[in-house]
């Protein structure tokens, strides 16, 4: 008993961390990607590693694409040959120089592994067509003109072949080693010894980074990434100062509270992440336009956006984010109108569309908002006589199911984030039937005219022409209402107030550490 009392006293004594210790490192509480190999993963969390440990030829700063490892580029008039001039004096973390050969190696590796980030390139780029005419020039010859080529350039991490070479096994391009190690040139160096997949990633500043540190008077030296799994724990850990940042999906309910806390704030930035409810257009009842219009008018956009999400999102009329080019002028979003919805549904019923069966809507259980949206929709649809059944699922499960039209659920709820800033990322890959079988194109929408317009837009390199083509395609798609587009995300990231210099970009959700500093 005395022992217990002593123990308790000791615990209380240490209840407040000892003051005057060395400055607390930045603790990043966002989700970590599955692996550190940037040629293997390509999703929202992977951007954190991509932006900080690696560099690409170009990079997004805000909504703008700026030259990064490349100084400049040229493109031939037919849009097939692209040449990038590299900066001089760029060093990898091991001190070796970054040359054109390393860029070529990186693209070869990417195209050989054929994993997610390669998807934007494989249709138009063969490995042998990436070459280095000299030590500071990289040449790409595409098999077909490809408009979004430059926009997709920041996806590709340039890796150090000399770091990888000793670890190559069975012709795997060093994939096993790269999963937990760093072969980059980025502003931060991964401490591979402490790395635990999805649990802990420690990084320290790379003083020799080619962009220099002149822009930042007090750069952060030590960064520890500690993903917090549960949303509520994440928010509370932030408010108690255990972590310095949440993920960028901070629940809107928490915004006020985080802002009220003297230690924390919420960074709010309009992003490019479209929230939508999908419909499987290949099957009854959603192969009927009236049904789709009925559903589009039965969603309480204002209630969801303004009350549940407290107005921290922006109503988005179509598949492309509002704040991106390529939208037709004057597109008026669908309105919540149950009377109109009922008319459409009645007309569909009269035409013999089976609307009496339960319609399944798959939600991502771990993402609360998808559940809330479905529940609200369910309640409203009951008033027009439609039964919605909510099926909990995971992103993995849904991705698998959407590989075939027959296994794709009636409906499902998700976001389309900014992987690169180009309408191709949204409307292009979502409604061109050539992408059927990928989750982005999972509404199985087919319209030859739209296919034609989107292909032309993809293959053009003339901005004005592309703008027009995407707008024309979007206008058609909007009228046919294949999905229910709800809002464009305002990125909400909780931060401790000691984090300074946080600067948002839709790609990477503002996770670029190079720009940040800590005030004490």
């Amino acid at each position: 008993m005395r022992l217990f009392a002593a123990l308790f006293a000791a615990l209380m004594l240490f209840a407040t961390p000892p003051a005057g210790a060395q400055p607390r490192p930045l603790v990043w509480g966002d989700t970590l990607p599955a692996t550190l190999d940037m040629h293997v993963v390509f999703d929202v969390p992977s951007q954190f590693v991509l932006l900080n440990a690696y560099d690409g030829l170009y990079r997004y700063q805000g909504n703008d694409l700026v030259p990064w490892l490349a100084e400049s580029h040229t493109v031939s008039t037919d849009g097939l040959t692209w040449e990038f001039k590299l900066r001089r004096g760029v060093k990898f973390h091991d001190g070796s120089d970054l040359t054109a050969a390393d860029v070529v190696y990186s693209f070869h590796r990417l195209l050989a592994l054929k994993r997610a980030p390669a998807a934007a390139f494989t249709p138009v780029l063969a490995p042998e067509n990436v070459t280095a005419p000299d030590a500071h020039t990289v040449r790409f010859v595409l098999s077909q003109s490809y408009g979004p080529f430059l926009a997709a350039m920041p996806i590709v991490a340039i890796v150090n072949p000399r770091a990888i070479a000793p670890h190559v096994k069975n012709n795997d391009w060093g994939a096993e080693w790269m999963a937990s190690n760093d072969a980059g040139s980025g502003a931060y160096v991964v401490n591979a010894g402490n790395y635990q997949a999805r649990v802990a990633l420690d990084m320290q500043r790379f003083p020799e980074h080619f962009m220099g540190w002149g822009h930042n008077q007090r750069p952060i030296d030590q960064v520890r990434s500690r993903p917090v799994m549960e949303t509520s724990t994440r928010v509370l850990s932030l408010m108690r100062g255990e972590i310095d940042s949440t993920d960028s999906y901070l629940p809107t309910d928490q915004v006020e509270r985080v802002n009220r806390n003297p230690r924390t704030r919420v960074a709010q930035d309009q992003s490019m992440r479209v929230f939508l409810l999908r419909m499987n257009n290949s099957k009854a009842p959603f192969n009927n336009l009236d049904v789709r219009l009925c559903f589009a008018h039965a969603f309480n956009y204002e209630g969801f956006n303004e009350i549940i999400l407290k107005g921290l999102v922006v109503r988005n009329a179509g598949p492309n984010p509002n704040n991106l080019w390529g939208n037709p002028a004057g597109m008026q979003p669908y309105k919540f109108d149950l009377a109109l919805a009922r008319q459409h549904c009645d007309r569909a019923r009269a035409a013999g569309v089976p609307l009496n069966r339960e319609i399944e809507i798959h939600v991502q259980t771990e993402l609360e908002q998808t559940v809330q949206a479905a529940q609200m929709f369910q309640a409203d649809l009951r008033r027009v006589g439609v039964n919605l059944k909510i099926v909990p699922n995971t992103f993995a499960g849904i991705v698998t199911a959407t590989a075939q039209a027959t296994t794709t659920p009636d409906m499902w709820v998700h976001w389309v984030s900014a992987y690169f800033i180009d309408p191709e990322n949204w409307v292009g890959q979502m409604y061109d039937s050539r992408f059927h079988g990928t989750w982005k194109a999972s509404s199985w929408y087919t319209n030859p005219e739209v296919d034609r317009l989107l292909t032309r837009a993809r293959n053009s390199v003339v901005q004005a022409e592309r703008q027009e083509l995407y707008a024309a395609a979007t206008a058609i798609i909007f009228r046919e209402s294949p999905d229910i587009w709800v809002y464009n995300t305002v990125n909400l990231r909780g931060l401790t107030r000691r984090v300074q210099g946080y600067s948002f970009s839709p790609v990477g959700s503002g996770g670029e550490l190079r720009l940040m500093s800590l005030s004490e």
Binding site: S232, D253, T365, E368, V371, Q375, I390, P392, N393
Partner: protein, 276 residues
Amino acid sequence: MRKLLRDPVASLGLAIVLFALVVAAFAPWLAPYPEDAFESHLLQRLKPPSAEFPFGTDYLGRDILSRIILGTRNAIAVAVAVVGASMLIGVPMGLLAGWRDNWVSDVLMRVTDVFLAVPQLILALALGQLMSPGLGTAMLALSLTYWPFFTRTVYAETRRLRGALFVDALAGIGATPTRILLLHVLPNAAPAVLVRATIGMGFTILTAAILGFLGVGAAPPSPDWGLAVAEARQHLPESWWFATFPGLAILLLVLGFNLLGDGLRDVADPRLRRSR
């Protein structure tokens, strides 16, 4: 029964279980807002407990008391289904394995061991992903992991009873093994099975709640209690009532079944009864 009622703790359990059964049976009439099983009322979301909403409202503005009342049905239905299915698998296997010592018995018991060695919740989670997650899947997963307990119970009882004099006597007058097992051994094993089933009800409600909490159990808008706690998490600590009351409901009902099971065990097992 009288013995059970004389035990204050067990009668408390019985009272809770009976209360829950009544609530489940008349849920739509007892709930102040029965339509809150499906409806949402966004304007009154996350209201603290008041006279209008004794347990407050949840994140879609639904009355938590109503949803707890409506959820009782779910909880009990799951428990009954899972325990029933587990008994259907487990009891015959236990009888079969316990009757003779041969390879059939060995195989059956080894299979049981395998299922017992499987980390239960992980198996349930994996199975929860097997088909689309939902209450049905959760029930299947729970039944698949719970039957070995019945097998073990019945196995032990059968082995104990097969050596009993009356079994020898029955065999002597030419009763078939099936007849002996079903008409004589099974009724004698029934008290042990009953105790196991009662405790299993509580256990199942608890595990189903965990599955609901982890997102592979009941699906929204089901007024499932575990699901409600999960939904409530991101509204803590402000909306404490949202997590607290559904959790208390789980606690109370499981407690009821466990107390009842505890009391039944004392009544059923004369060896332990002596020590009570």
